[in-house]
Symmetry: D2
Subunit: 340 residues, 4 copies
């Protein structure tokens, strides 16, 4: 029998992806938790069920229901303020919480207030929460009650940047550029003019120049200073996918192969990291609907110009897939379960 | 000097198209009328002006301003209920009104109430309004104060169907099918889940089966009975364009050429009608950003199966372009001014 | 251990979908067969493998290799003429053949010559081949050596039309209209102007009016006469999906519920058929990347106008998924294996 | 009477755009020149003509025909090798040549050979050709016989970069990044797998990292050294538009306003340059189907990180529009004719 786990916010894009992935999970079984604040105002897609595959269970959310159903973990695919509201009662109900919002990512109240422009009403939980990009932080997850799942942009950014910083090959005085592009699902399912079809199709636009809420996550994990990183988010007219083109001036690298070797060593046994060969870089089709992060690099030894391309599916490795990876770690399931 | 004409609702897709077309009009000059109820809740695109081409004038709307500015006509690119509210004062201010909404299209209060599910507070104006698809009704426009511009779907449908009905070549007992497809801009600029990028891209869906508000316009103009017409609207993941595939069983036609001849005769001198040759049918690229209605037909004489394809740009011939055609007729400008 | 099965033409869209689906199949293991004539001139996507999931095996194709590897079945995701060429040697090598092309669909040489405008060099195999849309023909598959997988359009059409014809509720003298729309992957991976991005995006176009090669499959399975069916294929600017809007005049039906009941009875135990409730119809997002065929219907009892909407993923239920369903039947695996 | 000008390669995307723009030109009249080598293998869109607007004249190309028709200029919307072949005879026929290919852009044979990997058979013409991005080079155009129209990427890049270099505000030792994104029409109309709909839609990919043929044009015009510029081209799933995000470390600038002032001064009277206000950057919808280049900038004085966004329509300002601007200069027409 599979262990039941709950999903709050299952009508949003990340929530729906969680449900779809968990339906194929060998050890966990999704239970949909109905809750007014997690509904996003979005009507549900009531598609008919198949006689061959029953729909997942759906119950009204309450801390008591979570306890009664014996949910081993609950995913919060909800806005940050809703996550902050719901987490205390969930933890009290004895379940583990995997939060996909920004509520518990930034470690300190000061950081949160600066980037989210709001007070944080649960500073103790903010301090307790374990931020986990599993490729870097998996050791800390098993013992955690509250796991904060990384943002989509920082996931692609840090998997590309952190190994470079650690290898000491970036000329940090020249700065590092992260030109990030995302599909529209990253903005969530709530209707807005910015994500309306006619505004997005046949268009391409930048937003949140230097001040995106995800910037502090990149800094915190990679070890870069704010002054060293130029990060811009941009909207591609596609449903899903994030591609980040990362530019820097290198030192102490003699060839592209040497640059690639940094990644091949860092990720030798990582099941969700795929490193491209020389002169090849990833595209978004290669990672769509997978939990992979694909990385490719190009380097000109003569001029020391380097570029790295990092690609993920924002709803999978950038949200629901990584959250399941974290749940697997938290509940003691094999880390790749339901994700390969 | 060009004659000033006003636009209410210039932030919506049809309104913006009106402004863009009128900026190139040789006789009319657009004046943007700011009005709370015509704003659609949509923020404006404040793009910088070019030193080479000044932006159109923008003034606060009031009936007095309309009179003071001497606006010869005012376009209402507003929801039906706003058009009904604003029209009486505009007419009193002495300007001609070209309404792009459904407010004055259906002739009788009964018709309006059945299809729009609302009362109509201006029955006298509804009766007075001249519904004008210029290819059929241009003679009536010159003397009119209030012109009701046809809906986008009925424009493409009636230009294809009416000549067939008049020629008596449709076996009406077998029914006529109009399978209509539209780009998303037809739904207007107000954000909604149905027109959100991620819901529309890589999708195709039907809506308003048999009960679309545009059906009575098709019936009224073509002379078909409701029982004879099967009309479905469908959403294509594109910005603009309507293509209608019309099926019927023919009588008294011996060849495809004979079928095409009906159109070639009916539209011999029409500047905005283009009839395709045998075995060719229009696509949407051919009409994008034009005021043309393209028509092609296919016929199998042996089995008497016939199909007609009719294509327009929903924002031009289906809205703003046709409205300018009507304004040209109403103000005595050449009918094709600003449109070829 | 999983039973090895071969794929010829694995670089095309249907072939790649076969590989992706078979990688998750509990009983069958995909073996990629390299072959010049099955390459479509398309370069391969050489994405790096993950340490967590090995790439499928890839060997040079020859009848001897098929025998040596003990391939229980071989899928032909190749053009019709290549399928005709390769099939005799494959059957001689003792493997079962599931052909996804039109090579063996039409039963007789006359039919093939009329619709494919070519001679058929293997008339005996054409006569022997078992055409199988499993929902209708599964009983015949177990004993077959050569299985002909239906076309994408006829799959969606026949699943919607055949139950109606059998129930006798179509007024056949009035004709039945099948307005079909397909994503671009249905045209295959070979580059052509018609499937170039800039020609397709923001466009919508009809092709093969009344004379599409898939028409005889619709007639043969549904029992309709050519004179009774108006079938048009149209291109939607999306990657995958087929939606068919089917219009007819009904007899002996008093309500929409009665119409839906025909489908609910016909498909009561079918794992891949999902029937929508009254006033709801399927869209393409609901079937994307699934083996489902979704059907919805609308009926106006007063005027006897009926419409049925049928939706599939052209690469899954319309090609690779259905082919695996047929392989499951042919090799004695559970029919839904790898597909739910 | 309008001056006749010829277009070779009118079936390609740039060529078709030339025709569309010239049809509205007050002083020039397009004449389509049929030529085998300029056909791109692409069939023509034979859409029917309107009684209201005659199609442009079409004649067989020959140098004699060019002379006989008195074509004042001929546009070459042809591949580089075809342009090199045709130019000598055209010049001899006494017409001015505006070449849209890369044939005559790089000034020296060495440069051409390095970046185009081919010999150049007309070194004298290569030396004679006037490369003209009109905002910088218009003074040299009037006397030229052969005008080389800039590439699309360098147009957007140089209009953004050159004023910065001239103002001396770029810390060149830290390098300048130009992350360029283009719609698919930039790749031309010849079918290829890379520009097939299903490969491009829902995808985003980089190509030509550091070695794009357009790089030397950026260097030559802006004055940057190759080692100072990191340029990557990327494909957006849209029809048309180029957006370039340009990153640098600034010196001697105290505010974003100061940065913007550089552009406002440089382009004060330029009819096709639009400079955004602080904290706003251009998107592609703003420039679609216009000859504008829109520029916006963002600057963080504390950390000296700067970003500039430059946007054009690749087929207009990046090709046909700019070519007409050059033709206007060459033939003595007002520079904005046919373009505002």
């Amino acid at each position: 029998m599979r262990t039941p786990v709950g999903i709050l916010g299952f009508r949003g894009y990340s929530g729906a992806e969680l449900v779809a992935l968990l339906e194929r999970h060998p050890c966990a079984e999704p239970v949909l938790l109905e809750h007014r604040d997690a509904a996003h105002g979005a009507p549900n897609d009531d598609r008919p069920a198949s006689p061959g595959r029953p729909s997942p269970r759906r119950i009204a959310y309450s801390p008591d229901a979570v306890r009664a159903e014996g949910l081993a973990a609950v995913f919060l695919a909800t806005p940050a303020e809703v996550s902050i509201d719901l987490t205390p009662a969930l933890l009290e109900a004895g379940t583990k919480v995997v939060d996909l919002s920004g509520a518990f990512r930034l470690g300190t109240v000061e950081n949160y207030t600066r980037w989210y422009k709001e007070e944080h009403s649960q500073p103790a939980l903010l301090a307790e929460a374990v931020y986990s990009l599993p490729e870097f932080h998996r050791a800390k997850v098993a013992g955690a009650r509250l796991i904060s799942n990384p943002g989509c942009y920082p996931t692609a950014a840090n998997l590309a940047i952190k190994p470079l910083i650690e290898a000491g090959v970036v000329r940090r005085d020249a700065g590092i550029v992260c030109d990030a592009k995302s599909g529209v699902s990253g903005a969530g399912r709530k209707p807005s003019l910015k994500t309306s079809f006619c505004e997005v199709t046949e268009n391409f636009s930048a937003y949140s120049i230097f001040d995106h809420r995800h910037v502090p996550e990149v800094l915190r994990t990679s070890g870069l200073q704010e002054s060293e990183l130029s990060f811009i988010a941009q909207l591609i007219p596609i449903d899903r996918g994030i591609l980040e083109t990362i530019y820097f001036r290198a030192r102490d690298i003699e060839s592209a192969q040497e640059l690639l070797l940094i990644y091949k060593k860092a990720y030798a046994d990582e099941p969700f990291m795929r490193i491209y060969g020389h002169r090849q870089v990833p595209d978004l089709r290669g990672v769509a609907r997978t939990n992979f992060c694909d990385i490719g690099a190009h380097y000109d030894p003569e001029t020391r110009r380097a570029v790295v391309v990092s690609a993920i599916d924002n709803l999978v490795k950038g949200a629901a897939g990584q959250a399941i990876q974290n749940m697997n770690l938290a509940l003691g399931f094999p880390e790749t379960d339901g994700l390969l």
